[in-house]
Every structure is written in structure tokens, then in C-alpha cells.
Point group: D2
Chain length 112, copies 4
């Protein structure tokens, strides 16, 4: 079984043991991702960029896990393959950000 | 090679061809995840929960891919194994949300 | 003294008594707004739109206050007049969302 | 008429001309605040804290105006007085962050 399938199965089992599928509509899952992303950002709040690298690794792991868990649940709900959608997006981003224009440049594609 | 490693390698290649590692400090990557999460939420804005299920699948794929891409880059930057941190978090959540208390209940663990 | 000036003065006094201006750069203030906005959204998480109206008013007041406080601090840092920038934005939105096109319609201006 | 009342009246007029009150439930307004907060953060993305101060002031004004507009609409929907809830929150924060403990310290109250 693929690694990603294994992770998703563990998430679904956790969800189903608690009968939580009823709460996991797409809109609420999207909100949950945002909230977990904000908790991740809170680890770095009021810190300089340099200080931010000294973040507590256990907390960082937990927030990243929460974000990815909800993202995987939402992808799974819609039947998306994780590898496929990320590789597709990389291809699209390659068109928006051609190497010769985007190299060493953090501007958004519509400002390049 | 594992599926997740394959995805991360594609993300790193994309990043390095553009010499973007210099921008990918932990604080900015966390902000990027939040921004992509907000773009995901925008797909559902002003919609009812039911209407939200009719979201454009191509846009949903792209926003989910962006969130997962930045989350994978941040996890990789800190050397975290994706499967490991998610399975660990499921275990921790199992203690915060025991089945008998959490079943069919969407309350936060500190309100159960 | 104007009401908004009075609020901002109270915020600045609170900040300066704690010598916190040093942490209040624009980037961190913007992150703080996002985090408070996520805490606001957490009040509604896993709820239907209808259930969301029964939110605890004290918590709602606190989260709204936090968001507005950081927004006012960021506006003040850049010398913006709150009334002026909101009325200006209403004018701009009037051009993006003309009544005849936008009436009873929640679509984004670029999809109208 | 108070300044804040004047701003809220302009927001309500804009909303009602477009018959948009039907979309402005509390949950969606909260999501809208989060999305605007993310657009604010995007102005600073991939920038250092120092570089972030050179943000385009027109864009900063617009994002701050959007955040405050939705926050005012949500506060108004629940009949909250803006000045009252912010001053109340400052008082509460004064208890969580006493000057002697919080001075020159960016830690969260539960870590002070």
C-alpha cells in the first residue's frame, strides 16, 4: 500500500471511530486548514525571521501534521490523488514562473 | 523511492531551478501556507455548506496542491518525516478525543 | 477627540506601557491579524451557518476586538485615517461591483 | 453622528443597495475577514521584516479597509459597540499581561 494511502486510511479510521464524517463538509474542512495554518504562524509571531528558525520542533510537527491531515481529508473527499495534483500544479507553476524570469526573484507571476 | 519523497524531490527541483531557497525561511513558508489556505476558503465564500460541495474541482485541486506543497517544503526543511508526524498526531489526538467522549461530537477537547 | 482616536490612544498606551512597539513591525502585525481572524473562525468551526449564529457573544466580542485592535495599530503605524480608507474602499468597490450587475449576486467582480 | 456610526452606515448602504445582507451570515463574514487578512499578508510574503515596511501604501490601505469593513459589519450584526468591545479587551489583556511581567517581552500570557 502506498505511504499516502496508509496515512489517509489512518485519518479515516480516526474520523470514523468518532463518527465525525458528518462534520467534514468541504467548507468546514477548508476553514479547519486555515485555523491550523494560523496556529502554525503563531509559533513565529513577534519573532524575527532568524529567531523563527529556533521554533520548538514538537509544536512545529504538530501544526504541520494538523494542516496536512485536513488537506488530505479534503483531497480524499473529492477523490483527488495527492501526487497527481501536486505534480500538475508544479507544471502549471512552471509556466507562470519560467526559470529565466523567476530566477532569484520572489515577485508574483503577474509582476514578473 | 517513496511517493512522498518523489513529490518533495519535484518541489525541491522546482525551487532550486529558480534559486528560491533563499526566500523559504520557516516564517515565510508558514505565511505562504496561510495565504494558500485563504485562497482555498475563497472558493467557498458566501456559499452555504451545501453549495460549497459544487466547487470547481480544478481550482480545488490547485489550492490543495499549493497548501500541501508549502507544508511539505516546511516539513522537509526541518527534516520531519510526513508519515511519522501525522501518525504521531493521530495518536495524540486519540488521547485528547477518546472515542467514548468525542463520538458524534464536534466540540473542542477542552469543552468535552 | 474622535472616537477612533480615543481607541487608538488606548491601544498605544497599552502597547507603550509594555514596551511592545519594538515587536509591532508591519509584517508581524499583519500575521497577528490573521491569527486573530482564525480564532474568530474557530468559534464557528464544524457548525452549520445557522448554528453559527448562536455563538458565545463574549468570545465573539473578544475576537473581533483583537482583529480591530491590530488593524488599528497597523493603520496608525502608517498614518492612515480609518474613516478615509474605508470610505475610499467603498468607492472603489462601487466601481468593481456596480449595483445593476452585483445585485443579489455573491460572485467575485471578475466573474460578474 | 459618531465617526464609527458614519462608517458603518456607509457599509450598510453599500450592502443594501446590492441586496447582499442575505450572504452576510456570521460564519461567512468571519471567513471573509480571514481572506482579507491573508491578502494583507501577501503584501509582505517572501520579504524580510525590514523590506516589508516598503509596502505599497495604496494596497495596504485597501487590505486594511477590507478587514475593518467586514469586522465592522460583523460587530454591527451582533449589536456590539466597537469602542466598548476594544476598551473591554484592553482591560482583559491588562490582566493577562501585567506590565511588570510583560514589559519588553513578546511571550504569550501562558508562557510568561
Amino acid at each position: 500500500m502506498s505511504e499516502i494511502k496508509e496515512i489517509i486510511d489512518a485519518l479515516l479510521q480516526f474520523r470514523d471511530e468518532r463518527d465525525w464524517e458528518q462534520f467534514h463538509d468541504s467548507k468546514n474542512l477548508a476553514t479547519a486548514i486555515s485555523i491550523e495554518a494560523a496556529e502554525l504562524n503563531e509559533l513565529f509571531l513577534w519573532k524575527t525571521i532568524k529567531e523563527s528558525e529556533d521554533v520548538n520542533p514538537e509544536k512545529l510537527k504538530e501544526e504541520l501534521a494538523d494542516i496536512m491531515a485536513y488537506a488530505l481529508l479534503l483531497a480524499n473527499k473529492h477523490g483527488f490523488g495527492v501526487k497527481e495534483i501536486i505534480l500538475d500544479k508544479i507544471r502549471k507553476n512552471g509556466e507562470k514562473y519560467p526559470v529565466e524570469k523567476a530566477k532569484s526573484n520572489a515577485k508574483k507571476y503577474n509582476e514578473l
